[in-house]
């Protein structure tokens, strides 16, 4: 049985504190149930990878954490989702505040049709910061953190659309960092990128995991094995609702899975 090579890392999760706690989550789109009874703890300052065959609700699950599913009128969420012990679906919870704390990087790089600078400054400006020197500092800091500063410091005022795909995606990460989130959600962030750009983003993710809690959805098992600390395997039940089969340290999931379905999936028997 050939299993995927898991990168050995000395610096595992910095702590074991739970950042996000999910209990009994059900997600519906109209009458269709997209997710059923999910229970999962996301550990602080670590990378949790969510893997599974397409259509099993991985992306929908990710969009629960910043309530992007709210944009779909028929979507309905049940169960308990807590960020730092506070329910994010509670009546008093402010979606705008939540999304400041929980940033998101999308599947396709989606910089706004504005300059590099304006893209990164977009979040801080929306949240009331119009101080020019402060913004300059934030933009520089965010771009450095996203490993994009050297490539863009001379073209901050050129259109973001002139950057390459990989650069655009790192710009989107910088844009998220500028808002100073605690959690970063990544929805297949490398699926539209070439291998070299993918590698850069993966390095960046490892780097960011020291400060941020990262949840990444990926269809690429090698990627999950390379970057994540913990892995959650999602699968489709018979009525096409997504379920969580198994979750644990990435090494465990890839070398010693408990569930037959996980084993079949990670060894490439289907999916």
């Amino acid at each position: 049985m050939k299993l995927i090579e898991v990168t050995n890392r000395d610096n595992g999760p910095a702590s074991n504190a739970t950042k996000i706690k999910v209990r009994g989550l059900n997600l519906y789109y109209g009458v269709f149930q997209a997710l059923r009874d999910i229970n999962l703890d996301i550990i602080e300052k670590s990378i949790t990878a969510i893997i599974g065959p397409s259509g099993c609700g991985k992306s929908s699950f990710l969009r629960v954490f910043n309530r992007m599913n709210d944009l779909i009128p028929s979507a309905k969420t049940e169960g308990m989702i807590e960020l730092d012990g506070e329910s994010i679906y509670a009546r008093g919870c402010d979606v705008v505040e939540l999304r400041k704390r929980v940033g998101m990087v999308f599947q396709k790089p989606n910089p706004f049709p504005m300059s590099v600078f304006d893209n990164v400054a977009f979040g801080p400006r929306r949240h009331g910061n119009h101080n020019k020197s402060e913004l300059e500092e934030i933009v520089e800091r965010s771009l450095i953190r996203a490993a994009l500063w050297d490539e863009t410091k001379d073209k901050l005022h050129q259109s973001a659309l002139s950057l390459s795909g990989g650069q655009q995606q790192r710009l989107c990460i910088a844009r998220v960092l500028a808002v100073q989130p605690e959690v970063i959600l990544m929805d297949e962030p490398c699926s539209a990128l070439d291998p070299i750009a993918t590698m850069k983003i993966e390095d960046l993710m490892r780097n960011l995991a020291q400060e941020y809690t990262i949840v990444i959805v990926t269809h690429n098992m090698q990627q999950a094995a390379r970057v994540s600390d913990r892995t959650a395997f999602f699968f489709m039940s018979e009525d096409r609702a997504g379920i969580l089969v198994e979750e644990g340290p990435t090494t465990e999931i890839f070398t010693n899975p408990k569930d037959k379905r996980t084993e079949d999936y990670v060894t490439g028997r289907f999916g």
């Binding site: 705008v96 929306r126 949240h127 009331g128 119009h130």
Partner: protein, 287 residues
């Protein structure tokens, strides 16, 4: 300057946006209700079936006006439909995508925006004067054809383009000629769109005034041939309001106009909805 918090500006913006929507509804309601309230009481069988007393008298009904309007619609649509559909078929099925086609498209688009009175001037110069047709039904109808052609071509072309390419390929692969494919496959599939275009054109004939004011003449008498002049309902409203100051009859005629327009709008909405649902059914039918 103190900045307004994002929350406050969000709330303020939404109030203003809903205000704009509300005001729009109010404008329409004011026009429609005002005309109907003031006009409908005048409308009765006698009003619809007696001819107006011409000249500066505001008395009488609108029977000859209705007849003229119907004649004008029939003549216009009769000429407009084949030419418009033919040109649209050429553009969507035969023309290659080159500079010439692009220029033609630009011309069609531009002509759709040329004001009615310019078409009126043109119709006056060509049909009324140069071709000696005088102020007549045929001069008015030909002018309307020119006015409506760009929209007719564009709408029909869009309907034809919306027909999936697979249909044409399937038909051609069965050995049908290009024309058979157009006639038996593309046109039937585009029919609801074309029907909408024809009904919309009918509506435009009813609404139009400026270009008819200078080509149709203003006779209130019953038209005897296509060379007689006449008045449509819309023109009649103008003459009653401006020349005769018979505002009660003008309101009544305007109420008839609004009722016709509302019916046409409801009908086209229904038609395009059917068109759309037919398409979604088709899309869903595919794996």
């Amino acid at each position: 300057m103190p900045r307004i918090s994002p929350k406050t500006s969000e709330r303020l913006a939404k109030i203003l946006l809903w205000g704009a929507g509300f005001l729009t509804v109010l404008i329409l309601a004011a026009i429609v209700i005002y005309v109907l309230v003031n006009g409908v009481s005048e409308i009765n069988w006698e009003f619809l079936t007696t001819p107006p007393i011409g000249g500066l008298s505001g008395e009488g009904g609108i029977s000859t006006i209705i007849v003229t309007t119907v004649y004008l619609i029939l003549i216009t649509i009769f000429i407009l439909t084949p030419v418009g559909i033919g040109a649209a078929i050429y553009l969507s099925e035969y023309a290659q995508d080159n500079i010439l086609t692009n220029f033609i498209r630009y011309a069609v688009e531009t002509l759709a925006g040329v004001p009615s009175i310019i078409y009126g001037l043109f119709g006056y110069a060509l049909f009324v004067s140069a071709l000696y047709l005088g102020h007549s039904l045929i001069a008015g109808a030909l002018t309307l054809v020119c006015l409506l052609l760009p929209t007719m071509i564009r709408t029909t072309e869009e309907a034809l383009r919306a027909v999936p390419q697979e249909y044409r390929e399937a038909s051609l692969a069965l050995g049908a000629t290009r024309w058979q494919t157009i006639w038996h496959v593309a046109l039937p599939a585009a029919l609801p769109g074309i029907a909408t275009a024809i009904i919309l054109s009918t509506g435009r004939v009813i609404e139009e005034t400026a270009c008819l004011y200078v080509t149709l003449g203003g006779s209130a008498a019953m038209p005897r041939s296509i060379l007689s002049g006449g008045r449509t309902l819309a023109l009649h409203v103008y003459y009653l309001a401006m020349d005769t100051m018979a505002f009660d009859k003008a309101m009544a005629t305007a109420a008839v106009l609004i009722i016709i327009i509302v019916i046409i709008n409801l009908f086209t909405n229904w038609l395009s909805q059917r068109f759309r649902s037919a398409y979604t059914a088709m899309e869903e039918g595919r794996p």
